[in-house]
Every structure is written in structure tokens, then in C-alpha cells.
Symmetry: C2
Subunit: 371 residues, 2 copies
């Protein structure tokens, strides 16, 4: 029972091939995932959780490398809106990532070497297709719900659009149906920071035990600013100085916000692969659900009967409320059932990962309202 409580960490090699949006065929397709709870005999209790850009499959169990608790234990766990005592919870590392699923650090069977930049460029829809292959493997025909925040919300949106008959409910938190020019711009800064690091070596750094940590760290710092609100940063740090009492008149981290950001950058490189960062940001930048459906977002939702729940946060300037409204308008136009709430939080985009009792109530009520 201990195993069940902390999730079953597994990895499956699916034969593939998986035809990707870019045209390439990927085989084999390795997927690392965790499950919590037990699939009901009628298969009706499966919930897929989709993770964000730098997330992982350890949604409600300790991360094996960092030892930290799962990233969404506030939402998934005993007596939580998603409860393994009732639900069969699946969370898979996305395609292109570096926590066990196929990505640029995986071995290319045609060469016996890591793919590096020879890994094919993927899309959010490709991630979803790989998840569907995993569900086939697990014997899950239809999802009770697919749930995700940020890039996880993009996958959640893409699910009913790609597999209209396989999902009954869709929860999209702090997300968007397409990346804006500003979203792309921030990601491009991160990619250029990585590629500018000579240790990146065109992506072929795996054999050198000396990854492009400096570039990846800068990329993470730039991205991290977009995850926080200006007000949240001011509340948490303001212009507070480090331990010293007066300004140092040098270039060490003088302000607390500087050392915080540096720490965010440095700790990130211990747990993430730079090439995966390139591939996943690219997939997010390519994401435009309307474009995939003839330029009209409503078209993405015409073939499904799924119910939708949208949640945004008022201080999220990465994927602001207006983006959720666009989705709701399209759902309305397509005649779909849609719940939408904008929640108040000082924490910006990151709010979906933090203590948000209102979010829990919304998700709980929405999931219980299902068939």
C-alpha cells in the first residue's frame, strides 16, 4: 500500500512509430509516468494530469532526484479534488522532456548516440498523442477528465480537440489556446541564452559532463520573472538588500530579488536538460489551437461532448485572463458546456501551483458535477 500511496513510478517503451506534426516518425516512444489509485472495472475513473514546461510525472509523490513533494499535492491526494481513493490518476512526463520520456537526451536507435538536436521538433499535440498511446497501454479508453495548468492546460485543451471521444471533462488552468508574440519573445530569449553558451556545443554536450549550465540558468531566470506578478515580487522582495545593511557598490547580488533569481537559475540546471528546454519551449511557441483547426478556435471543440472548466488568475500576465476568455467564447460558439472563473491571487502565473483553496473548490465542484 505504501507504493500506491506514493505513486507507482514506471516507464514504458511503446513500439510506435508515432507520426509527429513535423512529419517525422518517432520510434520507439518511451514514456515515464506515475499512476495513483486503481482503474475501476468499467474504466470510468481515469484522470490524466498534464504537467507544465519544466514539470514532471511526480504530481503527487516525492521527486526522486530533489526529494521534494509532488508538484500538485494541493490538488491531488487523499481528500483532495482528485483523490486516488476514487480516481485512477495518470501523470506522464511529456514527450521531449528529460524525466524518462523520449527527448533530445534519449538514445537515437539509428546511431546509438543521444539524439541531441537531431531529435525531431515536437508539438503540444504530439505530446497528447504520446499520452494517448500510454492510455492505450494502460487500458484506459476514455478519460473522466484531463487536467492541466500552464502548458498542462494547453495539453488539456488539445485532448478533446485531438481525441474528441476519449475525454469527458477538461480542466484548463492559467493557460492559453495560443502563444502570443510576447510569449514567444520571452522563450526566444531563453533559447538564445542557451545557444549562446559555448558549452551547448550545438546540442552535443551529453558526452562532456559539462552542460550549458550558465545559459540554461539565464533562460530560467528570464522565464521565472514571467511566472511572478510585479506586486508579488514587490511584496516578497521589494528593494530589500541582502544580509549586508548598505548597498555593496559592486556586482554581487545586492538585492534579495537578485540572489533569489540566481538561486532559481542555478537550482534549475541540476534538474533539467538544456536541449529539452529548447524543444518544449518550441512546442509551446508553436501552439495555436485555432490554427490547427482552420483558423477558428471554435472548430477545435465542435466534435467533442466534453465539459470544460477554465480558471485564470487576475495577476497572471503570462497567460492573462483575456486568453481564457477567448477560449470560453470559442466554447460558447461551439455549443460546449463551459465554466469559467477568474480567481484573485497576488502570485501571478505561479498561483496555480500554490495554495489556492478557491481553485480547489472550483475543480472539485466541476469534477463532481460530471456524469
Amino acid at each position: 500500500m505504501e507504493d500506491q500511496r506514493f505513486g507507482l513510478s514506471r516507464r514504458v517503451t511503446l513500439p510506435g512509430p508515432l507520426r509527429l506534426d513535423g512529419g517525422a516518425m518517432l520510434a520507439p516512444v518511451e514514456i515515464a509516468y506515475e499512476t495513483y489509485g486503481t482503474l475501476a472495472p468499467d474504466g470510468g475513473n481515469a484522470i490524466l494530469i498534464c504537467h507544465a514546461l519544466t514539470g514532471d510525472q511526480h504530481v503527487a509523490s516525492f521527486h526522486p532526484r530533489t526529494g521534494k513533494p509532488g508538484w500538485w499535492t494541493r490538488l491531488v491526494g487523499p481528500d483532495k479534488p482528485i483523490d486516488p481513493a476514487r480516481d485512477f490518476v495518470v501523470c506522464a512526463n511529456v514527450l521531449g522532456s528529460c524525466m524518462g520520456s523520449s527527448g533530445p537526451a534519449s538514445i537515437d536507435p539509428s546511431t546509438g548516440q543521444p539524439y541531441a538536436m537531431r531529435f525531431p521538433v515536437i508539438t503540444v499535440r504530439d505530446m497528447v498523442r504520446a499520452q494517448a498511446m500510454l492510455l492505450d497501454h494502460l487500458g484506459v479508453a476514455t478519460l473522466k477528465a484531463v487536467v492541466g495548468g500552464s502548458m498542462g492546460g494547453m495539453q488539456a485543451l488539445s485532448w478533446p480537440a485531438t481525441f474528441p471521444d476519449r475525454v469527458r471533462a477538461c480542466v484548463v488552468i492559467a493557460s492559453t489556446a495560443r502563444h502570443t508574440a510576447q510569449n514567444i519573445a520571452f522563450h526566444e530569449v531563453g533559447r538564445q541564452a542557451i545557444m549562446a553558451d559555448p558549452k551547448w556545443r550545438g546540442g552535443d554536450y551529453y558526452g562532456h559532463d559539462d552542460p550549458p549550465a550558465a545559459g540554461l540558468s539565464v533562460a530560467r531566470m528570464a522565464a521565472h520573472i514571467t511566472y511572478l506578478s510585479e506586486a508579488g515580487l514587490t511584496e516578497k522582495f521589494g528593494r530589500k538588500l541582502q544580509a549586508r545593511e548598505a548597498k555593496g557598490f559592486g556586482f554581487d547580488a545586492d538585492f534579495q530579488v537578485e540572489s533569489y533569481l540566481r538561486h532559481q537559475g542555478l537550482s534549475f540546471v541540476d534538474r533539467f536538460d538544456a536541449n529539452s528546454y529548447l524543444y518544449i519551449t518550441r512546442a509551446m511557441d508553436y501552439f495555436d489551437l485555432a490554427e490547427e483547426h482552420g483558423g477558428l478556435l471554435a472548430n477545435a471543440f465542435r466534435r467533442t461532448d466534453a465539459r470544460f472548466c477554465l480558471v485564470s488568475f487576475d495577476t497572471d500576465w503570462l497567460y492573462p485572463t483575456i486568453e481564457s476568455r477567448h477560449i470560453v467564447h470559442a466554447l460558447n460558439a461551439a455549443g460546449r458546456a463551459a465554466t469559467f472563473v477568474e480567481l484573485s491571487s497576488p502570485y501571478g502565473h505561479d498561483a496555480f501551483l500554490l495554495d489556492a483553496p478557491e481553485m480547489n473548490r472550483v475543480v472539485d465542484g466541476f469534477l463532481k458535477g460530471g456524469r
Copy 2:
């Protein structure tokens, strides 16, 4: 007369020493500057223009390196609110910069080598003190007005606070009285990007003809995003692709906004020194006019009789309108005459450099309303 029309580009070596906020003594103090027009016999027509982070003294005349017109010809020139036919216009390259004034690329007289990171850390107030030394040299006792946008606005604000009797009017556009945590965070990303570039060599790159262009370029890209509004980026680029019709499924610049940003980064390194970028961003991060005056911003304005004009732009999220409001409240508390207008523009922070007829009208009216 041609010379007058296009400004007189000059450089002066002031003996100093200049005592800096950080405690160091700087000598000599070299200041590169331009003047337009003629100082009136009573000395009453001098206007000092202060430039922004990466700006220069060529406010209304062609840049000698890029060949581009002056950066504020919309505001300064014949029949403009600041007109050399009436006003004696002075614009100096700020201390710490790289267009001829003393900065990290200057020769340290004690070693005969460039200062590099041995240049003392400076503040906005130090920039203002150096400008005052230049005005002494030019025989300007009192300024009719000091005018600046962005970091130029910080200098403009610092002028009456530092030299209360030497300035009669102060125009502060798209600026702030202190850098917020988010402002500092973005600058720290830029500094880390530069310092992560191995070609930075701890700042001692001047002898190698191979500056840290990649790091400086990333720094500029990150900063550039903060100069534009999300709406402006969407209007200009949206998700438009480059010349090719379909996504490239690679890591070349696929979206127009990517190649635009890359161009911004690459063209910047031709005209700016990486160490100067470190020093000037540091000065901006240190800027907190209230802190310099006992923690109360109003105190900064109690000893001057200057009139103030504040202009903000509604889509400027770098120095949003609320920052100008803080300044106006402090001016009110100090009993100073203050005009404040928030202008509407789609262009974000950059609006102050672009065509803004309303801004011109506000500045024109304010300057004409003076004694």
C-alpha cells in the same frame, strides 16, 4: 551654421575629482556632449536633456557611428517644443557609458589600462553631479529645464533633489522614482547573461577584439521585451511567420518576432559596451530617490522651487503610470507645482521615443508656461 544645426559634438576633460556615492573619487572626469543653439547673455535659456540607458548625447543630430538621426528629433529641433533657435540645449553622455564619457572602457590613469570592472560603481546622482560639472564648464548656472525619459527621467528627478537652486523646471517622461523588484530582476537577467559569456573575461575583454557579444545580445533581447507592450507586439508581429509559409520545425527564427528580437540583440552589440551595460543597469537598480532622502520621497522636493511635469503612457509596464502617480503625490506633499498626464499609446515604454504629438503638446505647453 551647419555645425550649429547639427549640434556641436564635444568632449571635455574635467579635472575632478568627483566624489561618488559609493565613496570613490573619480579623476579625471571626461564628458562627451553636444550643444545646440546659443546660451543667452543672461544664461536663462539652457535646457539639459538626459538620455536613457543605452542612449547618447546625439539627441538631435546624426549619430556618428550608426548614421541615424538623433534619438529625440521629435521633441528637439526647429519648431519643436525644445528649439535651438530659442533654447541652448545640452545633452551629455552619462557617466559610465561608452560614447565618450568616463566609463569602464576608459583608461584608468593609475594603470594606463582600461578600468573594466575596476571602474567605480556609479549612481544616477553621480551622473547628475557630472552633468553639473559640465554645466559649470559651460557657464550655465541655472537650467531653464531638465528633461528626460526613462533613465533620463530619473536624472531629471534627481536634478532638483541634488541641486535645488540650479533648475527651474523638470520634465519626467515614462520614468520612476525607484526601481522595483521586477525592474531589478530584468536587469539582473541581463547582467547574468553578459557575465555568463566566457568572452566577458571578468570584464577584461578590451584587448581581445572579441567582446561578449552573445551575452550582451541576450541581455538586450530580454530588456527589449520590457520596452514594448504585449498589445504592440501582437499588433506588429502576432504569430506571423518569417518568409516561409509554414512552420520550419526547427530552431531557426520561425516567427517574425524572433528574428526581430535577434536583430535587436545583434545590432545593439555594435554600438554598446557590455561593461557599460553592467554599470548603468546597476545605477538604475540602485535608484531610489526616497531612500536618498530619509525614506520619504517628498523630502527630495522640499528644497527646490522647480515646477514639474510628469508624463506616463498607459501601456508602459516597465515604469507604469502608478510610478508617476507616486511622484506626483510626493510633489503635492512637498507643495510643488506639478502637471501630470497619462497618455494613451499602443507602444509601451518605447512610446516616449516614438511619434507622440500629445507628449509634444504637453511638454511645449509646460515649458512655455515657465517664467
